[in-house]
Amino acid sequence: MTTRQITFREAINDALRQEMRRDPTVIVMGEDVAGGASLEHIEGRQEEAWGGVLGVTKGLVQEFGRARVLDTPISESGYIGAAVGAAATGLRPVAELMFVDFFGVCMDQIYNQGAKLRYMFGGKATVPMVVRTMIGAGFRAAGQHSGSHYSVFTHMPGLKTVVPSTPADAKGLLAAAIRDNDPVIFFEHKLLYDVEGPVPDGEYVIPLGQADVKRVGDDVTVVAIGRMVPLALAAAEDLAKTHGIGVEVVDPRTLSPLDAPTILNSVRKTHRLVVVDEDNPRCSVAADLVALVASEALEYLDEAPKMVTAPHAVVPFSPVLEDLYVPSAERIGHVIRTLMGHEIGV
C-alpha cells in the first residue's frame, strides 16, 4: 500500500471523503462544518468556506453539497439528537461536537437516546452514528474548551470510544467508526492536527478494538492514550539512549471496546506498568487500566503500577499552569526511571 505524508487533520478529512464517496447515506453535520457555505456571497466561492473551526472538514461541501455537509445552529442537543434519529432511520451521520466540553449541553441525546436506544428496544434499532469531537489542553483555551473527558463516555454502555494518536490511525479508525453499526465517539486531540505522518492512500480501515504496540521493549509497559502516545515514545527513545531502558509503548486506540489481551500480554512480558492519560484521574481510563492489570495479572507485576495523568483539577488558562497540568515527556520519563530504580543519582 502506498502512503503519503499528510497531517492528522488531512487524514481525518481523507477518511470522511472516502466514506462519503463510498456510501451516500453518510452525512456530516455540525457547527461551521461547511462554514459560511450557506451565505450568498460565498456561493460559487465555496473554497472560502471554513470547513470547521480548525479546517478539518474543509472542501467537503464543495464535493458533496450542502445536503450532505450540513451547517447547524448552535443547538447541540438538537442536532446531535437529530443525528441519533437519522441514524435510527437509515442515515450514517457524522456529527461534530466542536469541543468535548460541550457534552454538558447534549449528553441526554448522546446517552439517554443514542447509547440506550438499541438495548431498550430489545435490539430492534441500530444507531450507526459518529460524534467527532476535539479534546485536549495546550491551546490556551482554558476551562471550557480544553478537557479530554473520554473516560466519561467510556464508562457508558452502548457507546464506543476511539482516541487516535497518529494520522494513519485517525484515517483508519474514523473509517471503521463510520462503518460501525453502533454509536461511536471519536476524540481528536487538537494539538495533533498539524502532526504529519505516513498515511495509506486509498481505502484504509482499522478494526475497532485492536490496540497497537507502537514501540517494542522488555522492561516496562507504558499504555498511553491519544496525544500522550508521541510523548511516551519521546520519553522511551530518551530512556533507551540515556539509561538503556527498554520501554514498550502500547496504544489502545479504542477505549471501548478495549483490547485487554494486548495490554495484559505486554505486562506479562515486562512486569511493570505505567499508564499515561491526559484525562482527569478519578474514575478514569487510567484507573480502569490499572484495575484491569491488578485483577488479571497482579502476579506478573514486580512494582506497583503508576499513573501519569492530569490532576483532579480544571484545565487552567495561565500558560505556566496549563503546562504543569498536562503530562510531559519529562514527567513520563521521571516516573519510568523511578519505577526502574534508576532515579537515585540522576
Binding site: S75, G81, G85, T89, Q109, Y119, F121, G122
Partner: protein, 331 residues
C-alpha cells in the same frame, strides 16, 4: 361530511370511521386493563395512561402509514396502538416478558416498534424532539415522501430540546409535524403556570410555522388539522405545530393521588369523553350503525383478553438477555 368543533368539515369513508373507532376503543380498553393489572400488582414499574386522549393519536395517525415515523412520550401506549403496534406484544412488554415488543427490556416508558415507524416512548421529557428532526432529515435526505410526527406533552413544551427541534425542522424545512398534547398538567404543575403563552401553539410563530389549537376530545377536529399539517409536510413545505388541548382520565402516572385537580374540573372534562362523543356523532348522523360499533367493542374485548393471556403466559427473558443488544457487535 362531518362537522368538526372548529367549524370545519371532514369527509371520512365508513371503513376509515370504523378504524378510528376501533383504535380509540382499543386504546381505552388497553389502558383500563393496564390500570387494573397494575393495581393488582401484575405489571411492575410505572405506567402513564393515555385514556381520554385517544382522539389525538388516532386522529393524527389516520393520515400516516408504515413509512411514516412517530416519536412519543412517557404516555406512549396510545401512540403505539394508533400506529399499529401489536397489543399482544405491547402487553407482554409491560409485563417484562421476552415476547414483548422490546423483548421485555424497555417497558412502558420505552415501548417501541421501529419496524412500524414507532421510534419509542421516551422516559426523558422532550427527548423525542431531536429524534423526530433526525427521522425527518432521513426522509428528506433520501428523497422519501414520508413524514415524522413528534408527540410531546405540555411539560415538554418547556424543554430546550423542543425549541431546538422546532427551529431545526423549520430552517431545514423538514417533513415534521409537532403535536403538543396539552393535557393541562405537567405531572401536577398546571400549564397555565409553566407556560409563558396563552396557547402553546402561539410559539409556532417563533419558528415561522403554522400553529393551531384543537380540542383533543374531537377526533374529527384533530383529523382535520392533522390532514393540513401532514399534507403540508408531504409537499415539502416544512413543519407545523398542533396543540391538542384535553384531559387525561388517569393521573400523571397510575396511582398518582390527583390532589392537583378538583372533582368539578374532572366531571367537566369527563363529559368530553372522545369515545362517547364519537359514538353520539356517528349514530346521530347515521354514518355508522350501532351494531357495527357494538361489534367493534366485542372484538376489542377479545383482543385485550387475548393480549393479557399472551402476556401472562409468556416466559420472562433468559438470563443471557441481560448482556444482549448493548451493541450490534462488541469484540
Amino acid at each position: 361530511m362531518i362537522k368538526t368543533e372548529r367549524g370545519g368539515r371532514v369527509e371520512i369513508q365508513r371503513e376509515r370511521l370504523l378504524w378510528i373507532y376501533e383504535r380509540m376503543k382499543l386504546i381505552r380498553s388497553f389502558e383500563d386493563a393496564v390500570a387494573e393489572l397494575f393495581a393488582a400488582g401484575r405489571i411492575p414499574g410505572f405506567v402513564h395512561l393515555y385514556a381520554g386522549e385517544e382522539a389525538i393519536g388516532v386522529g393524527i395517525m389516520a393520515h400516516l402509514g408504515d413509512d411514516d415515523y412517530i416519536t412519543s412520550t412517557h404516555r406512549g401506549h396510545g401512540h403505539c396502538i394508533a400506529k399499529g403496534v401489536s397489543v399482544r406484544e405491547m402487553m407482554a412488554e409491560l409485563f417484562g416478558k421476552a415476547t414483548g415488543s422490546n423483548k421485555g427490556k424497555g417497558g412502558s416508558m420505552h415501548i417501541a416498534d421501529v419496524g412500524k415507524g414507532m421510534l419509542g416512548a421516551n422516559g426523558i421529557v422532550g427527548g423525542g424532539g431531536p429524534l423526530a428532526v433526525g427521522a425527518g432529515l432521513t426522509l428528506k435526505t433520501l428523497g422519501k415522501k414520508g413524514v415524522t410526527v413528534c408527540f410531546f406533552g405540555d411539560g415538554a413544551a418547556e424543554q430546550g430540546t423542543m425549541h431546538e427541534a422546532m427551529n431545526l425542522a423549520s430552517i431545514w424545512k423538514l417533513p415534521v409535524v409537532f403535536v403538543c398534547e396539552n393535557n393541562l398538567f405537567a405531572e401536577s404543575t398546571p400549564w397555565t403556570y409553566h407556560a409563558s403563552v396563552k396557547n402553546i401553539a402561539d410559539r409556532a410563530a417563533a419558528y415561522d410555522m403554522p400553529g393551531v389549537v384543537v380540542p383533543a376530545h374531537d377526533v374529527f377536529a384533530v383529523y382535520e388539522v392533522a390532514n393540513e399539517a401532514v399534507q403540508r409536510a408531504r409537499r415539502g413545505e416544512g413543519p407545523s405545530l398542533i396543540e391538542a388541548r384535553g384531559f387525561r382520565f388517569y393521573g400523571h402516572f397510575q396511582g398518582d393521588p390527583l390532589t392537583y385537580r378538583t372533582p368539578e374540573d374532572e366531571a367537566r372534562w369527563r363529559a368530553h369523553d372522545p369515545l362517547t362523543l364519537f359514538r353520539a356523532r356517528v349514530l346521530d348522523q347515521e354514518f355508522l350503525a350501532e351494531d357495527a360499533l357494538d361489534e367493534v367493542d366485542r372484538q376489542v374485548a377479545t383482543m385485550i383478553a387475548e393480549a393479557t393471556n399472551f402476556a401472562e403466559s409468556s416466559a420472562y427473558p433468559a438470563d443471557a438477555a441481560l448482556l444482549e443488544d448493548v451493541y450490534v457487535s462488541y469484540p
